[in-house]
Symmetry: C2
Subunit: 263 residues, 2 copies
């Protein structure tokens, strides 16, 4: 493939993450790569943006022959700065984020810095993909994931995405020969059951540390969780319309209620 | 109305925000109120959660007769700690967030700490409402907003929300007599056109500060932006399914493509 594509890469685990390196290795074979990654861990940052303070960009020599910057902000800030400052609004053919260390399937999409970065690019009408591997280990084997990453990136670069501009891709933690292929899915209606570890710090002050358990109450076979549990790579076309459309008609009585004109 | 309802209040502007006070004034007439608000500004924090460090809770005497805590985390953290630590999973009849100083209509819902806090409660199957007034001023007149806040809270407490558990409510910056009523709407397909102010700090280092312009390319009359521009309070029933359902069938060819079994 020629060097005709411009590919923006970001993540939420920072420049040193093996998952980022794995993504760069694939992307550099498909086009011109620009990397802008946060300079601090940004897992769980969701769609946070930095508005209360200034942002910084630091050029780094992280990957031979590839332009890369660390950014002081969130993953979404990285995409905004890449698009508007570094690339001065030149066209970007594809934005890929990840490969995240850990699942971003189902409800994780709303907490995920990885996916929020890709979503931010999709809001700019850039074809965007968030990639995640269901393995939190820094020593995870990214080779099977890389295979599917390349396949999906080539598809999107060659075929394009029309209506929906964002794919949420999760790869099961399996050796190559155990992965059964790809499934186009919907987001499972699962959630986290929270728990907090309560403890006391060295100064005697109480603190709370978030933990939790992922609970899937959505057993159907068309979801991302089903696909992953059954050995498939899940691909969820994703948007940014949070309207619960079917709840509009039943709420119409709220419009009709008489509202007194005094406070 | 009796004191039978338990109402959790949070926001993203912190305990001192006039919008929070305005919300407490309404809610305390409707039930038992618990306030958990961030102890630092959290605008634009989206659905960020704190996982890399511990969280703290500080009881404060902010409103006479009302239990209130400041939290070191994000708005979503406030809701998680309120539900699981402070209230020890006792039932919550309603979670209200705000009143935010500034619009959270349309795409702002994904950047908004105010709405993300309410969404977090909705994930716990708690009826939840995010309230925002289209006035950034700390001296904004919240009285017209309070009127509609009370009306909508009473409706939700008495009628309940069934399928959808989250309402995104925005109030135009208008005197009471100019507000034309409520509209149940969908989220407009609008976005921010970003810009960055570039400048140099006192140490000679370059920085970037996010700014931008809200652009609505969705002129139909069933959106929240239309309602607000035409003098109505907008109410958008909102969910957390980001699946772009109509894009599932056209992406099916990606499943069929032959995948070589070598890496």
């Amino acid at each position: 493939m020629s060097n005709r594509y411009r590919i923006l890469i970001t993540n939420d685990d920072g420049m040193a993450a093996p998952g980022l390196r794995a993504l760069v290795e694939v992307a550099r074979e498909l086009g011109e790569v620009i990397v802008v990654a946060p300079n601090s861990p940004q897992s769980g940052q969701g769609h946070a943006i930095t508005i209360e303070e200034p942002l910084r960009l630091f050029p780094v020599n992280a990957f031979p022959g590839i332009k890369a910057w660390e950014c002081s902000g969130t993953p979404v800030d990285c995409v905004k700065l890449a698009k508007h400052v570094l690339l001065k609004d030149q066209p970007i053919d594809l934005c890929v984020s990840g490969i995240n260390h850990g699942s971003n399937a189902s409800i994780n999409i709303i907490y995920s810095g990885t996916l929020s970065a890709a979503m931010e690019a999709s809001l700019e009408k850039i074809n965007s993909i968030g990639f995640s591997l269901l393995d939190y280990s820094w020593d995870a084997d990214f080779r099977p994931a890389q295979h599917y990453v390349r396949h999906i990136m080539e598809y999107v670069l060659e075929t394009g995405l029309t209506d929906c501009k964002l794919l949420n891709v999760n790869v099961p933690k399996l050796p190559m020969e155990k992965i059964r292929g790809l499934r186009i899915c919907r987001q499972a209606d699962a959630r986290w059951r929270e728990n907090f570890v309560e403890a006391t710090d060295p100064r005697g002050q109480k603190y709370y540390w978030l933990t939790g358990e992922f609970v899937n109450g959505d057993p159907q076979d068309d979801t991302d969780i089903w696909a992953l549990e059954n050995g498939y790579v899940s691909v969820v076309p994703s948007g940014h319309d949070l309207t619960h459309h079917r709840s509009i008609p039943p709420l119409k009585p709220l419009e009709q209620t008489t509202i007194p004109q005094k406070i």
